[in-house]
Amino acid sequence: MYSDKVIDHFSNPRNVGEIENASGSGTVGNPKCGDIMKMDIKVEDGIITDVKFKTFGCGAAIATSSMATEMVKGKSIEEALELTNQAVAEALDGLPPVKMHCSMLAEQAIHAAIEDYQKKQAAAQ
């Protein structure tokens, strides 16, 4: 049911972990539906120079977390905000229909981390 790319990102997830003193951090999902994702980003001069995730969830949740981190790493905040769940799913060669909500979480986690960064920036000024 999963593509080879999903299995690859699930078996060898990229960017697992946490960033100490992250510029921004976002957690989305809840244990009730079985998926929780946390994304940490490090931002320098408007560029996401590092990103790490930790996920409690199914194979698709872990794979989309991994792929989403790959897709925003090195991108500007503006570019990262344009990341859609559709793009994450496509980069994984598709997801089964019942798993599309997992890719939503990845998009939401990135957005939550950026929002947190922007709030911190605003507070600092």
């Binding site: 697992v16 244990p31 019942v98």
Partner: protein, 400 residues
């Protein structure tokens, strides 16, 4: 790499003896059992022989055995048939919260037709008590339907005691024994069972064939109308090869049952104890005593079931989970929620069901692989003892 198949509660392989018994009934003895000619009579004989094999296995008379298309049809027929036949006597049905969906959804449909259903809650190990059943009986109760053994957590229900109560109150008692046949001894007479469902593919028979046992004298409405097959109670040309396979499979499954059950129980305990020894923060779902000999079900804290299944699958091990992600819905298993597990813990469940082919070496291989998979997934999980939403007590339960 050979797959280590630990999903025998989902389905089993057809055993070679069963397949051999079935094969002639596709091409040689393919007659319609209703036909007058010799080809038809051969088929009829084979069906009656299978009926005797089934009857002998559960302490019934051959005339009380009706072939169906499987467990779901048997459950539907027993429950709907009993409900509509007795609707002038009453409209109340008693069942439990942890039945298979073939029972629960049938009861749910009957509620829409004006019947009332009591879904008895179960204790933390998935057991319903005979006292609960008796207390739920009203003067409107026409049917009690309670499973013999739970398909997810392996809990054995006190069906002999429930049968006694049903008999004393003159209420029909149906049991879904789909997981129990071939796993534990069953005697419909001694246990006062009026109707019993089974499915061949759970005990090394073929898929698409099952049985409903209906005690002599019990009358229920017909579900499948048409021809006069199965003494006019279940229409449709008989699944000849399937019936022959079911007969052979139940004969094999119930021969030397105590010895087979003891072997599986020992392997099951080796698996459960091995996991508890090697992995912290694991709980056993269902009881340690009074559970199906082949069923191991654990919840692994901080991680999700489907991700465990996938990693096990990549390692050549087939298992299942009650997590939402394996059911296609957002809710985890109704059984795990009914025994009081928080969602987070229910999502982390792992069911491994052994079969007659399972070996000690296979169990040891699982015990070698599983701890690494769990610690790997835990290392990438956002949940840990600080972020978990559940209390530690949930995880002390069930340990020896």
């Amino acid at each position: 790499m050979n797959t280590i198949y630990l999903d025998n509660a989902a389905t089993t392989a057809v055993s070679p003896e069963v397949l051999q018994a079935m094969l002639p009934y596709f091409t040689e003895h393919y007659g319609n059992p209703s036909s007058v000619h010799a080809t038809g009579r051969d088929a009829r004989k084979a069906i009656e022989a299978a009926r005797r094999q089934v009857a002998a296995a559960i302490g019934a008379d051959p005339a009380e055995i009706y072939f169906t298309a499987g467990g779901s049809e048997s459950d539907n027929w027993a429950i709907k048939g009993a409900a509509f036949m007795n609707r002038r006597k009453g409209n109340h049905i008693i069942t439990t919260a942890i039945e298979h969906h073939a029972v629960l959804h049938t009861c749910g449909w009957l509620e829409k037709q004006g019947f009332e259903v009591t879904y008895l809650p179960v204790d933390a190990e998935g057991r319903v008590t005979p006292e609960q059943v008796e207390a739920a009986i009203t003067d409107k109760t026409i049917l009690i339907t309670i499973m013999a053994a739970n398909n997810e957590i392996g809990t054995l229900e006190p069906i002999a005691e429930i049968g006694k109560i049903a008999k004393a109150h003159k209420i029909l008692f149906h049991t879904d024994a789909v997981q129990a046949v071939g796993a534990i001894p069953l005697d419909v007479k001694a246990m006062n069972i009026d109707m019993l469902s089974m499915s061949a593919h759970k005990f090394h028979g073929p898929k698409g064939i099952g049985v409903l046992y209906i005690r002599k004298g019990v009358r229920i409405d017909t579900l499948i109308h048409g021809g006069a097959q199965e003494r006019g109670q279940r229409a449709g040309t008989e699944n000849l090869a399937g019936i022959v396979g079911l007969g052979k499979a139940i004969e094999i499954a119930t021969t030397d049952l105590p010895a087979k059950a003891a072997r599986l129980s020992a392997l099951r305990d080796r698996l459960i104890d091995g996991i508890l020894e090697r992995v912290p923060d694991v709980r056993v779902n269902g009881p340690r005593e009074g559970r199906l000999p082949n069923n191991a079900n654990v919840s692994v804290r901080y991680i999700e079931g489907e991700s465990m299944l996938l990693r096990l699958d990549l390692a050549g091990i087939a298992a299942s989970s009650g997590s939402a992600c394996t059911s296609g819905s957002l809710d985890p298993s109704h059984v795990l929620l009914a025994i009081g597990l928080p969602h987070e813990v229910a999502h982390g469940s792992l069911r491994m069901t052994l079969g007659s082919e399972t070996t000690e070496a296979e169990i040891d291989r699982v015990l070698e692989v599983l701890p690494g998979i769990i610690s790997d997934l835990r290392s990438m999980s956002v949940l840990n003892k600080d972020t978990s939403t559940v209390t530690d007590e949930v995880f002390y339960h069930g340990k020896k």
